[in-house]
Symmetry: D2
Subunit: 454 residues, 4 copies
């Protein structure tokens, strides 16, 4: 999980890029970076830390130029050092310079890197953004391809997920893998500036005139002459005839106010809640409580459908970031306590429908169910807004090894028992398919192991 | 607005204090500090910054001792420097040492400080915590009073709000002003450790066996022999026979999961929402939307009473802290955009009941109503969970000068017009009195100018 | 050992004070600070670190005002925290504010602090500068003395060494203890600015028109009306009729280009070298080598007198500050190696006169003699530019406990043996008295234990 | 100007490398870095700042491994960013990893980089170390050469100065350009550890058993099997039959206690002083004063030969680093005042021989001569320990454009007039040739424009 931004033709490009990254901060809090060009040089700044720490006003003022691309990083490939953060830059003495930011994950990274190394292309990081950049630069500089040609070559050979923005000193390009794994939107701001981002919310903060999604396998070139869209036939670059959008962008990753894959995220979430509720026609309960904030809209959807009152029964400490203080003997379970607290004097004798978006390891839910029971809940019915996650993701989500996925290791009943819930239901794959307009266009690999790209 | 913590008799005192401060971070993000004693020396650390930045694991490990007191600060009195942050410490060569943290504000600060200065007591800051500390130290060291006697003397002469914790190298004391302006709770942890905090949520994170509120004018002494409570008659120290709890602790400041002044904060908020709804019996609308997060429960209460659906129609960026990037020409109104975004494709043609907790200056609500209208809302009915704030607070809340309070300067209709709402209603003082159990025990100075302490 | 600075009546006061402190950096590298006033407020900045780190250009620009006092600190009394660094500030609500920096050490600190505490004056540090400041403030504010009267009162009661600068918002005062232990010079800059400093070199960098020394027990008041000198009779404030200048300011502490106690430091040092050489009339040797940099001029004086060639035979690494890397098994004696290296291919078969200014613990000289022998020196004759240091200093020099002073524990012959030198001679007290103009005006306590102030 | 270090086969490799870099700090204060390997991974740390700041104890402890290479940087090629600092690292997926540090400058950098870029090798910096590293990696990985073969290939094609250390995860290599522009020494420590450094002083601090210089065009391989030296015939790789050592390493750059190009630096400097003095047989003067510290030994040599007394008449502030506070109107010429102060009461009526090592722009000497005259010097005779510097250096010294070299623009008499000296003499090229053992082995390009490598 990462987020990207690109701004073209605005003298406050760095400011706008920082605002966009800030709106995408939920996609990665580990490091962030920006490359800005004024047509002559490319200035790069990237650091460990949050957008508002790395890009303070005085730093932004040093990033002069009319094109800016940026990145927020949640670590997937490569260790957590400044050298693995993005954007990556290649400058050539013969003329052109390139900077690139990407969101996604490359399945055949090892193979491609070994190939490029065998051609004399060397690497300073283990980050997939550097691979994409050097792949393109090699094909442009050595193979004399035009940049869009090199990107098409990339689409042929690079397997995996990528929503990517590339800039030279004069033109900006952005493109998306043929399966459309990750979201990517672009738009025009009120003053003619062009902008691209992982999520539409990063454009919203910039007050766009209009916003569109980049089609799978689409390449957009932005230059002084305006926008040029190369709408490639995605099927030429993929083994199946459908997209493979990541359903977890709807369920968990994206902000609820984003518009991804042709749909409003919050509406998909409410629909999921509604579908869960329909399946519980006979369940008697007093209150629907979400695990905040990701499950709020699923719980709202459940409440609307069922008529059972919604309550923000778990309070989240928004200062937490990662767990702050490491566990000590004196304070049990405090990692979940640092994050969540129950409403006091609320649960006594109540039958609670607890809603979460998914179960990965199950440890947090185990603790939360325990908290509710301790607080007096007479019943806890756990409802999950996604099917059982049994397989690892190779397209940009940091899921653990399959052995650490509880649904890969345990049965439904065993999971229920582990969490301590009285009943447990997951959303079925069939229900899930009703929550979106074109279910055939979604990847279900983490549920059923049908990987679209090996 | 500040928050305090005290931990007695735990070898991880600093760790526990940090956890408590972390749970009170919403009460002050400017600076934080901690004084820890092992019985021999007092170690002090205080800095500008958030709890998780100032008290990283390696710093906590340097704060050895079994008693810790701490503070998070939202600036009220004194400028924003490290010297004005708390705790304050006085060490005497002749023996005893003292450290103190306080939440509140002293009305007769100038007079008391001049008096102490005339006695030879000098000050290194303009912070009221230092005043309280030196007042006590002077009466103990110079006037030979016992510490509890000095605190009683303080209650006689110091006018204003204070929920305060004081520690020596062996004993911890905490006390609360006779009016009970600010909340203060204490409890025993499962291992016998005693803890005190501004809000009960800071004790919740420490897994208490039991939690109680410190009574107005109450003094609690904690020593190796256990807890000793000096329950003074508050009326001996005040001009009226009732408490003066700050109603805004219920409406806005405290976390919804806190238990203050004998009531659950979230329940008061839901009741307020319910009272607002009863007054809107004839209002036709499609959705109830809170300004998150402070107004969530008020809006939930309104929705329950009215039957109009609740929706989280404004999405808040939780990374924002203060407004991140300062306004530029290119991006209009982005300070509110950085904080809030509307759910897309939601408002078109909808009649919206927008709920906020209060109006101070009115500028943010003006922008939010504008956002909703731009998003297509056909009507915006603004409902406020408190009466008109016409007067400044002198008891610990950082309200601006009366001239900057919109309700001090404009009529109801003028405010409605300024915000752009179609209708505007405030909670009346009479309604407010129904939202709490003992309305006579609350301060209403910011609404009606009846200051309990001059 | 510390250094002070004061600047009066210059709109770049903070800049000039920083330059002065920078020239006095050798007097203290642990922390530094500055208090600046523009007539209305006093702005304080003090931190651990070097002058050029703490007072970067952007920080200096925030220190606006026409009066600035500053301090560099070498830790003597009080632990190494920011709270113990200087200047100290007292602001009173009733009007006046005060800031103070001092160089020296107070012998009756405990007694005075206990007395002030019994009067209600409390302390935030264990630093003697805070004691001096609060002593004065108490007598001015409580006892209604004029400031110069309070300083005279201070001279009566405070035992020890102090060269001190005090400022209010409008006037600057500086004064020196009745014994004149530490140096203190003042002067007028070309543009009428008045400046005071511990050493004359700190004025040199400011291009003064003239420079004078502050007489022992002298008090200088600087105001808009100019300079007023209160030349108290020092004998009224001391038990002997002579000054007690610290001879080590000549031998070691002060920069060689300073003018202290009526004499050029470098000339005293050369004279000492000359006196040592006269005593070695029969000594055959090939080269005179100083332990750099403090002994350079002593060795030059020895070389001139004896005719034996001078050589910079030990090279000092000026980046060292304190010893950089702590000793490990793999690298023996590297603390001295980090600081000094021998000229290669130089010592083989040479008879070396090695000159150092003093011996405190003796460990460094032990290693240096060893280095020279390893490098091939056939003889090492160690000559010391001061008598045997047998007693601790209580007037501002950080000497260790007497048991750790090698000359307190061992005989001359034992010291020679420990160092590994072939011969060892100290400067005698009698010789030392010939190196200065008025030997009766110097303190010899560290040599003979005759402490002028108990 | 830069400095390098390499340590092989020591479990405290990072500690030893830091000590070595510390001893070479004078060769570059802008940034420093280190790459350490434990045989499995290479850990890199590089930052702007001094060695003792960047490599604090806790950071060194994180750099685990038995091979370490390091670098201190004085900026020559490439701008001042972390990305341009050294070492550079290339890791290949197929197996080997490489890290490299180099001192020198590549004349045909542009041409070589363009060539490598045309082969698909891309760059993340404009630093010549990265060029050398990728040149080698390309020839090893792509052209299948052994590493020593790739280094020989490098010697054929790379024009310029390089004293370079390269490490893989198991072997360390170091080599020097065929002209031997920059110094490079290696040795064995007492415990069998092998070490290499730019200057012998960096080995001295590690207590070596023996030290040798790397011959021009020499390649040394260090592995578990010990040391293997490939002594190439330098003439095979160069257009002339002599070395081209940089004479300024003797005159100015190297520490006086270093042994470079077969000679003791301090002895060359004393010889230069002696040669200058012989040419002044009839000059009557009272004192010889060096511009410290670089000219100390030249002045000592002059004094010995002439019999005119030596005096450290200018005192240098060793805390200065770069000029600390930027010039303001109020303080004239303070950039030189921050660095140097005259001995007070010394110069009055004296005829001074002022000795400096070289004149580049002449501005500092102009100010120093002025200082001496102001201090009362009746005559100032300026003597320079090198010929007129008329041409820029392209082999690792940061000389300005020829137009800014005063000797390129002005005649001897004009320079004398500009400096304000009464007489001015440079060392002649003929004299210079007498100061070293093999004058034919030195580069004189900056004096006569005869560049050995175009």
């Amino acid at each position: 999980m990462c987020g990207i931004i690109g701004i073209f033709n605005n003298e406050d490009a760095a400011q706008l890029a920082a605002l966009g990254l800030f709106a995408e901060q939920h996609r990665g809090q580990e490091s962030c970076g920006m490359a800005v060009t004024d047509g002559n040089t490319i200035t790069l700044r990237k650091r460990m830390g949050l957008v508002k720490e790395v890009f303070r006003q005085e730093k932004l003022e040093q990033l002069q130029g009319h094109i800016a691309i940026g990145h927020v990083r949640y670590p997937t490939r490569g260790s957590s050092t400044q050298f693995n953060s993005q954007p990556h830059v290649v400058e050539t003495l013969s003329g052109p310079s390139y900077a690139l930011s990407s969101n996604g994950d490359i399945v055949n990274y090892q193979e491609l890197r070994k190939h490029l190394e065998s051609l004399g292309v060397y690497f300073g990081s283990t980050n997939d953004g550097e691979l994409l950049l050097k792949f393109i630069v090699y094909h442009v500089e050595k193979e004399r391809m035009p940049i869009t040609g090199a990107i098409r070559e990339l689409m042929k050979h690079v397997k995996g997920a990528y929503s990517t923005v590339l800039t030279t000193k004069t033109k900006m390009y952005f493109f998306r893998d043929p399966y459309g794994f990750r979201p990517m939107s672009y738009g025009e701001l009120s003053d003619g500036t062009m902008a691209v981002a992982s999520e539409s919310v990063a454009l919203d903060i910039l007050k766009p005139n209009w916003v569109k999604e980049v089609p799978p396998a689409g390449i957009v070139t932005v230059s002084d002459k305006g926008l040029h869209i190369t709408e490639n036939n995605a099927n030429d670059y993929r083994s199946i005839e459908h997209n493979r959008h990541c359903i977890f962008e709807h369920i968990y990753f994206s902000r609820p106010d984003s518009f991804n894959f042709g749909q409003n995220v919050y509406k998909v979430r409410m629909k999921i809640g509604s579908l869960l509720a329909r399946d519980d026609a006979d369940l008697q309960a007093d209150v629907v409580v979400p695990v905040p904030d990701s499950s709020n809209f699923i719980a709202l959807g459940y409440s609307r459908e069922s008529g059972i009152p919604f309550q923000l029964g778990l309070i989240r400490n928004h200062y937490v970031g990662r767990t702050f203080i490491k566990p000590q003997q004196t304070v049990r379970d405090e990692s979940v306590s640092q994050k969540f607290n129950v409403l006091p004097n609320f649960y006594e004798g109540k039958r609670v429908i607890l809603v979460d978006d998914s179960i990965v390891r199950g440890t947090t839910l185990h603790k939360i169910v325990h908290l509710l029971k301790e607080a007096g809940a007479s019943e806890v019915h756990l409802r999950i807004g996604s099917p059982m996650v049994k397989y690892s993701c190779y397209y940009g989500i940091d899921t653990p090894d399959p052995q650490k996925l509880i649904a890969n290791q345990k049965s439904l009943e065993e999971i229920r028992e582990y969490t301590g819930a009285d009943t447990l239901k997951y959303l079925s794959l069939e229900q899930l398919s009703k929550s979106v307009h074109h279910p055939e266009d979604y990847c279900s690999a983490c549920f059923d192991g049908h990987y679209p790209v090996k």
